[in-house]
């Protein structure tokens, strides 16, 4: 056994402009999670309280890029992860949130926060604590180099399991036609 196969691989995950559905699908590996934990340990992830990504073997990113904070987090992941995986439709091509790309966002904001009839004291949120939104939603590979793409909305737990176990065992990950899907 080489050193690499003996130590646990370190895995970081995050959701950017996504819905957490890909993370839920990850948990849909169900009790195989316990077998996975024999081989990996988690760094930053919505499941842990580690707030910033440290050096990792694998980074898994769900969701596209919709604001400046997403860009910072994605760059932090790229800088720290040997292998970066874009998981799910939003990370791969922007997904459903990118349907806002044809809208004028200034007008959107006005409608939602100023002229919406149920709103009483209209104002557009502008506090410095709120990160700068981008005018378009972008897929990950427009910002950093991505090593693998797993399509699907979301990819199934079985697909994620097959992909990760291939990777961890040192095989080139391969999803057959029964596991690749785009819905």
């Amino acid at each position: 056994m080489t050193d690499v196969t003996r130590r646990k691989l370190r895995v970081a995950t995050t959701s950017l402009a996504g819905c957490f559905g890909c993370h839920m699908s990850f948990l849909d590996i169900d009790e195989r999670l316990f077998a996975l934990l024999e081989r990996v340990e988690f760094d930053r992830s919505p499941l842990t309280d580690i707030k910033h990504c440290g050096p990792c073997d694998i980074g898994i990113v769900e969701g596209g890029i919709c604001n400046a904070e997403n860009v910072h987090v994605l760059r932090e992941f790229r800088a720290n992860c040997k292998i970066l995986i874009a998981i799910g439709a939003c990370a791969v091509n922007g997904g459903l949130p990118a349907q806002r790309n044809h809208l004028d966002l200034g007008q959107c904001l006005q409608e939602v926060y100023l002229t919406e009839p149920s709103v009483t004291n209209g104002m557009i949120p502008n506090d410095p604590e709120l990160p700068l939104p981008l005018d378009k939603v972008h897929p990950l590979h427009e910002v950093v180099k991505v090593d693998y793409f797993i399509p699907g909305c979301p990819p199934s737990g079985d697909a994620i399991w097959k992909f990760l176990t291939d990777l961890i065992d040192g095989r080139t990950p391969k999803l057959g036609p029964d596991l690749i899907r785009y819905d």
Binding site: F20, F34, R100, L109, Y113, T120, P125, D127, P154
Partner: protein, 486 residues
Amino acid sequence: MTQALETAAHPEKLRRVVIEPLSRVEGHGKVTLLLDEHGHVEQARLHIVEFRAFEKFIQGRPYWEVPVMVQRLCGICPVSHHLAACKALDQVVGAVLTPTAEKIRRLMHYGQILQSHALHFFHLSSPDLLFGFDSDVGRRNIVGVAAAYPDVARQGVLLRKFGQEVIRHTAGKRIHGTGSVPGGVNKSLTQAERDELLKDCYQMIAWSRDAVRLVRRLFEQNLAMYRSFATFRSHTLSLVRADGALDLYHGGLRACDSAGNKIFDHADYDHYWERIAEDVKAWSYMKFPYLKELGSDEGWYRVGPLTRVTRCDFIPTPLADRERREFMAFDDGRAAASTLGFHWARMIEMLHAAEAIKDLLHDDDLLGTDLMAGGKREARGVGVIEAPRGTLIHHYRVDENDQVVRANLIVSTTHNNQAMNVAIREVARKYLDGREITEGLLNHIEVAVRAFDPCLSCATHAVGKMPLSVQLVEADGTVVDTKVRE
């Protein structure tokens, strides 16, 4: 009272502490604290920092796409949005559901309640409760629970799995399925599917009961702290059935004051806007709803499991109702009034969901073939459902070309916006004020947020993006740069 600690008088002189990102919650949020030179907390805010445009970009889409699109607001509770949209669009297509369609939808919904509550309790919150709020950060997660309490972790994973399987059999897939459509459902259960679910559901009832008792033991072990942690008084809002029973799929709106006196009851949700309005604050993309008749300062309220379990008249399944009565009586009613009581109530609802699934699986209507209904076409529809995190409102207007022309969504977590802010201020005042801030103390703030099981992803649904004015500000409050974009 509600204004206390919301806005510091002189923020520019204060030290900023940020918890970012909030972890073990769904979606993007952060908490900022401003402290004076003696460490006194002057301001505490929960910010929702993301901002989408779902309500806008579904305009122009054909209405039948909506239930499939809007569920992408949330990967944890997609079924809530799927069903709330379908309930609204049932009105648009003039449908009164067939018994098979309504029961399949209910089964799907209770499957979701079970999986979402299991996820929240076991995967996200149990590490705080089992190890302690300021325990070792490296262990304070589901991996740590799996090592220290393997049975608890395993039951959590399998409870969630069962709920997901109920969803898969009714919706077609576990996440973002397609089973419900305006006017009905597109599949019922086969005998084989029913038998497969029935085989496991008694075990799920037993484990859910164990989970209720686990929370009870946690209360007993830490009574003084659990009773008071992040606790505050508030109004409440929930759906109840016509006879006052807990019903998570359908009912009328019930609002109560903090003592449980009814402000309104069995209100038709079709005109929800006569009851609820929304405030906006500059520092969060999430709006602040309130009960109109009480006004924006006093009218904020709390939704979700704690509200539903304590404000319904009874739970219509026997084991959950017995647990409800014990919960209400425990510690002279103080557990039922406490913020950490959310977890107890959530597990009672999980037990109820498991019982409700068992009852539904014994109903032959689930195997029926009469799936769709229709009627006189209407121009608008409102659908309200009790999602895992609370009352969820969908409202659509559809034109004669079947295109959506207007949509309004008020999601569960948004209703809890003010309540969560009050909870973190309570914790900041009691645990952090004047002390040296440590990671463990900051986690106390997150424990308060987690009690609500917020879905911050859902909560950002409405919005376009692009604030018109953006400032770059240093930690000390100095404005470095201001950009304005038209």
